[in-house]
Symmetry: C2
Subunit: 407 residues, 2 copies
């Protein structure tokens, strides 16, 4: 698209109240805009990044048999009462009464909603296993929204839910999700650990978190310096590990951002909500249940925390809002035809067609951080000057070669 039309313009200064890096850079570069504390509009650039993230997640969810749905955000009180979580999770849930006296909660997660869906649609063991997921808005009544887009009152999450006939089948699938999550965060380019943690208002079982190592993180984890073993500080004492139990390596203490979690629930939810199936002998049995979340908007913020320099954001290919940023300088032979050629090849290009000084164009390109910058100017003639955002040096190459590298 044409940068002259991109909404909004970049900003020279970060918002006064901004403390975290993702808050400063994502606002300055025009990826997000704050409506109120903890509540953000995803602007065109930000929405593009989140869609890139979502598509990677979607592919890996489909690969393990996940079926995409969309569940409601407004939940009736009676459903949350069935598990006792209307009271147990009161602290984080927005709960209210409408003008007609009906009581609702806003979605902060969907276990009870999925259980209700399953009990209406599952009869026998032949209907299982089932795995459904959706990308949807979550609301959390945070006492203090902070850290930019990392901890909001409203955010986007992918949550997957699976139900199984046996504990064995459940744990097999739990392993598959764990592997799928590892693939997702590897494809997105993160340095992460899989840490054991407590279950909060979700379960008394221990759970697994996917933690991105980041100085700006709110969580503290203890993890192996060598392998991917880790444990959240909150349960570190109970684990009493002095050396890594997996490989004997040194354990280090690190700051991290939780980007995903996977929860084994056993039959706790299905027993309370009567989600039973008939087995081969006609006996009624509760389903084994798990849920698996990834904070899509938080993933975007986490990347900015770990991948930036003094000039701006450094996107990698997987998450970059556009494949290439085409910078047109005075005297360029035919920027339009370069733009059209790239587009025709299915390459997503932001073309800086603005009538502003070269310095401003380069500064904006570094701030926005698109993975590849292509400059056309008087001196490039029929070639383009290619520079990766994370590279120091540029190189003059044929347009056909640029196309090849970008596709």
């Amino acid at each position: 698209m044409l940068q002259s039309q991109l909404f909004p313009k970049t900003r020279k200064e970060p918002p006064k109240e901004a403390e975290s890096i993702n808050h400063k850079l994502l606002v300055r570069a025009g990826f997000i805009d704050q409506l109120m504390a903890g509540s953000w509009t995803l602007l065109p650039l930000g929405w593009r990044v989140v869609n890139k993230i979502n598509q990677v997640i979607r592919e890996e969810m489909n690969a393990i048999g996940g079926q995409e749905v969309l569940m409601p955000l407004l939940h009736p009180k009676n459903i949350w009462n069935e598990t006792g979580r209307w009271d147990k999770a009161k602290e984080v849930m927005y709960q209210f009464k409408d003008s007609r006296g009906r009581e609702y909660a806003l979605s902060f997660t969907h276990e009870e909603i999925v259980m209700d869906l399953l009990r209406k649609n599952i009869k026998s063991y032949t209907d299982l296993p089932v795995a459904v997921y959706h990308f949807s808005t979550k609301f959390r009544n945070e006492a203090r929204a902070r850290s930019g887009i990392l901890r909001g009152r409203e955010f986007l999450m992918k949550d997957l839910y699976s139900a199984h006939t046996t504990e064995k089948d459940f744990w097999k699938y739990y392993g598959e999700v764990r592997d799928a999550y590892s693939k997702i965060f590897t494809r997105l380019g993160f340095d992460f650990r899989i840490t054991e943690a407590g279950g909060g208002v979700f379960t008394d079982n221990n759970t697994h978190e996917f933690q991105v190592l980041a100085e700006g993180g709110e969580d503290t984890i203890f993890c192996c310096k060598k392998c991917d073993w880790g444990v959240n500080q909150e349960i570190f004492d109970e684990k009493k590990a002095e050396k890594c139990p997996e490989c004997g390596g040194e354990i280090i203490k690190a700051k991290a951002i939780e980007v995903g979690n996977i929860f084994p629930f056993g039959t706790w939810y299905s027993e309370r909500m009567h989600v039973y199936y008939s087995d081969k002998d006609g006996g009624k049995k509760p389903v084994f249940f798990g849920s698996y979340g990834i904070g899509c908007t938080r993933v975007m913020g986490a990347w900015v925390e770990v991948s930036h320099d003094e000039r701006g954001i450094v996107w990698n290919k997987a998450m970059s809002p556009f494949d290439a940023h085409l910078i047109e300088l005075p005297g360029a032979k035919d920027a339009k035809s370069v733009y059209e050629t790239l587009k025709k090849e299915g390459i997503e290009v932001l073309w800086d067609d603005r009538d502003v000084p070269a310095g401003e164009k380069f500064a904006d390109a570094d701030l926005i951080g698109i993975a590849v910058r292509l400059v056309v100017s008087e001196k490039t003639q029929d070639k383009v000057e290619w520079k990766g955002r994370s590279e120091e040096k540029s190189q003059l190459i044929e347009l056909t070669e640029a196309v090849k590298k970008l596709t």
Copy 2:
């Protein structure tokens, strides 16, 4: 995908409380599931249809310069107070106070939110025009949710907002959106009218609605029998038309479903919310503003109302949840290779691989209503039996020809 794994199974009976056709058929065929009155989960088949609809809308919005974003659903009271709509729209808005005493509304539309976004990011005439849109959840506190997915308390909408320097530029764009909407509903296959109507809690101006002619509709319109002119009953008296003002044709009274609307606001919102820009002479002027909605989930319901038979839903190519429904009958040579061939060509196929009687497979195929049915059986040998859902007769054709017709 494999039908044996599709969640959930179809149902023989519609829900007892269901009155409208879309409610009965969409639930029986497994497209939607009711959480509570007016609140639906979009199941895998339903979510696929809505995504087809959304993609058509997205393409036409992008073609007129719309930039996709995602705006928050939880809105602070103070913003709605700036226009007086916190009180004016009290009837339809969910409004509540959180545990910390802060007052919020749930999104039933986004004019105030867009105005706030613009005033923070628009400075001069060079920043205009701007057109942003999003697909997001809307909440309406309906006294009585009814008509299946046509009138819910929570639903999915695409809303576009545009801001302009002059009234002339605004009306030019309003015309472009009107044309884009006509393209969208034409691509989706609807018989619709563009009717003049009142503005409800949005504006005192008259507005335009896109109305699908349907017996199950809640709206009554007066429209020309020959051309696309129409007017909503609510303002028909003020128009006092006896013959069509466009072509002199006969005016008929008809039931219809409103699937889209476009609203001209002038400077009403921008003056109240101080959304000003500097013109060429440095003078401060309010932006001209409009909003444009399409009820994505309602579009799905509207199609079912107008396109079904006694056996089930009849999807057209544009909205069909899958491109083809592959029915495997006993003795088929190699259903799997047919399935793989179609998939390799990028065709979306639902393969009925279940071990159930042929009659059950045909009944389910007709109920679900995928646009094209392909049967492979003992007698089809190397060919496939092609039947459009809306056609009476099938024909035996080569697989390569089926592929050609489907791509």
